[in-house]
Amino acid sequence: MEEDSDSHQDSEKELRVRKIKDGMVIDHITPGNALNVLKIVGITGKEGMIISIAMNVPSKKSGTKDVVKIENRELDLEQINRIALISPNATINIIRDYEVIQKKKVTLENEIQGVIKCLNPNCITNGNEPVKSFFKIVQTNPIAIRCEYCDRIIDYDEICQQF
């Protein structure tokens, strides 16, 4: 299997982002959200790994998309699934020696702990207490999550604004 999906070939032709030898390609990211994806998986850019970002590139499937390529590193499943919060159609390609050895879709988990901040200033998770935020999904398209402590509902825009 080639590294990139058919939808990514357009950008390949123009050499916007070169193929990587080993690592991970996060493809089909909702356009404009590549930087948010990096934030939500906890990559700041100071880790030293090589990261390539393509934003708003043409895609046969969805018109445009963002792509992130991370070299010589693979994210764990929990990090990958966080991506589903802001980019539910993203796919993950694991690359070894320029070949895609595994391809999977991100999965929206029903429970999200510690990633998103509750926007209710009076929520116990925003007080001076040793408690992590904890949300459950109440709606998937568009996404909405509900704080298990204070019931505050946080929608897609509010999630994106946090990153």
């Binding site: 009076n122 116990i124 007080g127 001076n128 408690v131 204070c150």
Partner: protein
């Protein structure tokens, strides 16, 4: 049905069967209320109230004494280590060693829920933020049931006033979602019941109507539950002045109401109900405070002694 050691965090955690059972036990508590009891002898209840309270705290204290238990209190946070910067987690971790159950009132939403995750003794939510007041909702159910000939099903119930920030109206609405009732939310637009509550109730197939004016429906109602409109919630004081009169229940508004109508209020009352109404047969808000003791006696008995008691 065994409630031994159970936390009381949200009214949403209780099923219809559980609520009916608690109401039944509450009515059985009348005997202990009259004669006293030693059921909870040797047990200690801690009351931690970080926000003002008259009825909730005193009725828990009264209920505990009626059942032969003891109470320790942190009624004034200014006198506790909270002012030294101690958080609630450390406070609960400490107080759980002093008491068999803890009643907590705190301004932070979810405070009781989180404390129930760390406390080894039952936490009873005595009111948290603007969202939850489960024991008030239960005593409101008890009042409605007892004052409406033993049934809640089939009633038309209006919850009036500050539905956005008032935790009592919100908790009662969730409590009533277990019953076959028609709900009417009457409030100024600024203080409407939060969308998530209306949406939750609709998912549970509870008939809900929202309105700014009670008068078109007042003659059809069985229960009017009035809540205080909190002046401090209005960004512009003139807006408050405009709406406050609209949500004040006066004697002349009751000309065409049903004979068996009951008027309730979680109290404190400021201006929402004319004092003249107090003398009418409709007024049940002080009877509610009596039911509050019975209900809290039932909860304490069930949580601290399980179902091992005879009447």
């Amino acid at each position: 049905m065994n409630f031994l050691g159970r936390h009381i965090i949200s009214i949403k955690d209780f099923s219809r069967e559980e609520l009916d059972f608690i109401l039944k036990v509450a009515n059985q508590m009348e005997k202990f209320y009259q004669d006293g009891s030693t059921l909870l002898k040797g047990k200690i209840l801690a009351t931690l109230f970080f926000e003002p309270s008259t009825r909730t705290r005193l009725s828990f204290v009264s209920a505990m004494y009626k059942l032969g238990g003891e109470v320790i209190s942190l009624s004034n946070p200014e006198m506790s280590s909270i002012v030294k910067g101690e958080n609630l987690t450390d406070t609960i971790a400490t107080v759980q060693n002093y008491a068999d159950a803890i009643v907590l009132r705190h301004k932070l939403e979810g405070s009781s829920k989180f404390m129930s995750e760390i406390s080894r003794v039952p936490i009873i939510n005595g009111g948290s933020g603007t969202k939850e007041h489960p024991t008030q909702a239960m005593l409101d159910l008890l009042t409605i049931q007892n004052e409406m000939n033993g049934k809640i099903d089939g009633l038309k119930i209006a919850i009036v006033g500050d539905l956005k920030y008032g935790r009592t109206g919100r908790s009662l609405a969730y409590a009533l979602s277990n019953y076959d009732v028609d709900l009417f939310f009457i409030s100024p637009p600024l203080l409407r019941m939060q969308n998530e509550v209306v949406s939750d109730l609709q998912k549970l197939n509870v008939p809900v109507k929202e309105s700014e004016d009670i008068m078109p429906i007042i003659k059809d109602l069985d229960v009017i539950y009035v809540t205080r409109i909190q002046k401090e919630r209005f960004p512009d004081p003139t807006e408050y002045e405009k709406v406050k009169g609209t949500y004040r229940l006066s004697l002349d508004m009751l000309n065409d109401v049903k004979d068996q109508l009951i008027i309730m209020h979680p109290l404190p009352r400021v201006e929402e109900i004319d004092y003249e109404i107090d003398k009418t047969k409709y007024a049940k808000y002080f009877k509610q405070t009596y039911y509050g003791v019975l209900l809290r006696m039932a909860l304490l008995a069930l949580i601290l002694s399980g179902d091992n008691f005879d009447f």
